[in-house]
């Protein structure tokens, strides 16, 4: 009798909990159309002085465009590989910086060079078309 009751209780619990779990679990395909963005016109090159950066939206994630001192243009997914904060470019230290836990990245390669981040930032492609800086998926 006890075994039967236990089995029914477990089955009943499962039957009740599974729909609740499915109801709450985010759908894998809820990634909206915005994630399908392949390129973004960020700004005019003349609006981005050397040794500065600009955070912008790239589909569903934040991104960062950097104009380095040596006139290079680099773009990255601006999500810190440590705990997901949005990074920024700091001209005073000439590095990409995460304000949450002090992680630092190389502004030309995105490589993690100081602090807790375990991996480099994901790179994006940069092109200049008629003075417009266009960033696209790498």
């Amino acid at each position: 009798m006890r075994t039967a009751l236990g089995t029914v209780a477990v089955l009943w619990g499962g039957v009740a909990l599974y729909p609740i779990y499915r109801y709450l679990a985010p759908r894998p395909d809820t990634s909206d159309d915005e994630t399908q963005v392949t390129s973004v016109e960020v700004c005019k090159l003349s609006e981005l002085p050397k040794n500065s950066g600009k955070n912008f939206r790239f589909g569903s994630f934040p991104a960062l465009l950097i104009h380095t001192e040596d006139d290079g243009l680099h773009a990255f997914k601006a999500v810190c590989t440590h705990l997901g904060c949005t990074v920024q470019y700091r001209g005073d230290i000439q590095r990409i910086f995460c304000a949450c836990h002090g992680g630092q990245y190389d502004p030309t390669t995105g490589k993690n060079i100081a602090g807790p981040p375990p991996k480099p930032l994901d790179s994006l492609k940069v092109a200049v078309v008629n003075d417009q800086v266009v960033v696209s998926r790498a």
Partner: protein
Amino acid sequence: MAAELQQENKLAKLIGNFLVSRLSLADLQHLAAKKKVPVHKHSLWYYMGGITMIYFAVQVVTGILLMVYYVPEINAAHASILKINSQIDFGWFIRSLHSWGSTLMILSAAVHLFSSFFMRAYRQPREITWWAGLVLMILCLAFGFTGYLLPWDDLSFFATKVGLDITAKAPLVGGLLGPLLKGGNMISQATISRFFGIHVAILPLTLISLLAVHLMLVQSHGMSEPAAFADTPPEKRRYEPFFPDFFFKDMLVWILALNVLFVLVVLFPWGVGPEANPFAPAPIGIKPEWYFLGAFQFLKLIPPMVGPIEGELFGILAMSLVGLGFLIMPFIDNGSQRRRALLATIYGVAVVLGLIFLSIWGALS
């Protein structure tokens, strides 16, 4: 005149007797009469649980009042908090009571937890009371964490982002719990809705239920007595009745605790930061609330890799181990050996000092 008074007394007695009989209050009266509180040099710490409860009561009342105007919608949440703070009569007061109340509730819960620890209140037969207390502490922190996102300002956004990333990386349950809490691949309306539901329904229900268990166990076991007190001869031990002696002192302490809250609210009303922008960088100098500062500073110090383990996972495991120490303490220090008691004290002092040191470092850095 005297006859009228006599008649009123009679009526009061009649009503009293009616209530005692119909609500079966005799058992409660018996319990209140039987309950006694030890009097010793550490008696002060017995008030901390009551202080935590009174702050929780403030949270319930102010939380319900805030729900009248707060809108848990991504485009309206921040504006509704601004409205509460600046346009609703006494809105700033209610919100500041809620925000300062939460910080004081967590502080008094932490003091209650650590004072119980150092008074060895986790020992047999109070293990379950202790574990319930540990879970109640976690629930208090969960209240702080979920409530923090609701104003939808920049600080709350990044605090939630970091917190959810830590949750998602937790061993075993992280993979399941992280997405369930976030409700998608980024912090969005789904996250606000979930956090709101957890904050105003799930956590209060869980906390009240567990608090009932905790209090019931405290009643059945009586107040924990420190070893030095318990070891003194019975004729030298002093007790005071819970009702009315301790109870009235408790009420006085509650009034003091509420005064502290009111002073903080009036002198330092709780503000609100700029509206969260999920695509803007984390503001320089961003810091969590004081009760997460220790963990925040600890995570900052860990290198990317610790041996073969990723730094963040190492940090989560290390913090979980510290928590585990408190969980298994009733088995380590069961009162049988002085050496074990000393070990527990060293552990507790190390955790407290470590937390204070890391928190101050985090605040100053």
